[in-house]
Amino acid sequence: MPVAQNLMTKEKIREIIAKRAAREFKRGDVVTLGIGLPTEVANYVPDETRVIFQSENGLLGAGRLHKGERPDPRIINAGGAYVEPTMGCCFYDTLMAFTIMRGGHIDATVLGALQVDGFGNIASWMIPNKFVPGMGGSMDLVVGSKRVIVVMEHTSKGQIKIVQKCDLPLTARGEVDLIITERCVFDVDKNGLLLKEINPIFSLDEIKASTGADFRVSSELCEMVL
């Protein structure tokens, strides 16, 4: 493990990733966030960006978590948490949620992954015989979104997650556009991975050693904004 990794707490790692992902949205984008780390991205999106968060359980305009004493159990987000709807929000059923998601009406999706590769493949929904939560809405979402942004720790307990070719069951084939970790940012294009940003506390060699897939280095490689 690179020495620098020890300089970052788990919280710091998540913050770096979420902050960086939050910079990916254009004004007025409709965005869907996966459960877990992706949810934290919302905390760093400036209000003036007016990003609209879509929740697959039937809510366009999901706001912050309910802070009061008596939340309304009839308003939740896709993670099951009680949320406060934002001004201008609306409710709908699962049919409309997936018309929105599969129909190409989501500008960007941010979700986690177990594995990704340079072919844009993503595996995020099962480890056979071990972890089988089901795909939920993730398969539709990844297939239907205009942009798919994977956010995850660069490695998991030392295990490589950006691999030459995913060997876990896929969520979708060839759909990932961007990979953001605490160490770097990769574009995924027709030719594979392109390293475009690097966290300055890591060396290129450290990135290479902790990445299972070949990648090109952008001629415009720059430091990740932390």
Partner: protein
């Protein structure tokens, strides 16, 4: 006028071995009182069709905990470890279907369509043993319509004509399930004489029985 019945009488209609759709996303918009009665009456060998199995021993999770289910068709079971455990030791058969495909399969049944053509799952293990069709150079998976003997659904306000209106994110699967089952039982937070016709989300003709959820 639709029949407003007791929860006992409504659930008594369900026979062992029946297929039942249950609305709700986790605990939200889930007909918890109908589920409690289902457990109380101890129905067996059910085929259960739902988005998820909620949390351990909570609403839909009670049906799992009490082992009433032979086969489960769902999109996500990760919030209830009981379901995974029963699946792994072979107590229940589980078919996992992407949420968007599941909702379309149910709609296809309700709308009299021949099936669903979706790109979701193409290039994954979901494609195995499925018919695929190439349309303008893109591959689509063909999925059959999915109906059930019963649908147990939730409604925030239900009128005496069976019309259903919702509050918040409680709609989820309730709307499509109402169209795709032979008998539809709705658990109502409130029963009113007549809803504003512009507020109705599920037209009354789909609803067979109404059960009022008494406040605990």
């Amino acid at each position: 006028m639709k029949k407003v019945v007791s929860v006992h009488d409504a659930i008594e209609l369900i026979k062992d071995g029946a297929s039942i759709m249950i609305g709700g996303f986790l605990s939200c918009g889930t007909p918890d009182k109908l589920i409690d009665e289902l457990v109380k009456q101890g129905k067996k060998n059910l085929t259960m069709i739902c988005n998820d199995t909620s949390y351990p021993n909570t609403d839909k999770g009670k049906i799992i905990a009490n082992k009433l289910v032979k086969k489960l068709i769902a999109a996500h079971i990760g919030t209830n470890p009981d379901t995974g455990a029963q699946m792994h030791n072979g107590e229940i058969e589980v078919e996992l279907i992407p949420m968007g495909t599941l909702v379309e399969k149910i709609r296809a049944k309700g709308a009299g369509l021949g099936g669903v053509l979706t790109q979701t799952g193409v290039g994954t293990i979901l494609e195995e043993n499925k018919e695929t069709i190439e349309i303008e150079g893109k591959k689509f998976i063909f999925e059959k319509p999915l109906g059930a003997d019963f649908a147990l659904i939730y409604g925030t306000k239900v009128d005496s004509f069976g019309n259903v209106a919702f509050y918040g994110t409680t709609r989820n699967f309730n709307t499509v399930m109402a169209t795709a089952a032979d008998t539809v039982i709705v658990q109502a937070d409130e029963i009113v004489e007549c809803l504003d016709p512009n507020d109705v989300v599920i037209p009354g003709l789909f609803v067979d029985y109404i059960v009022k959820r008494e406040e605990v």
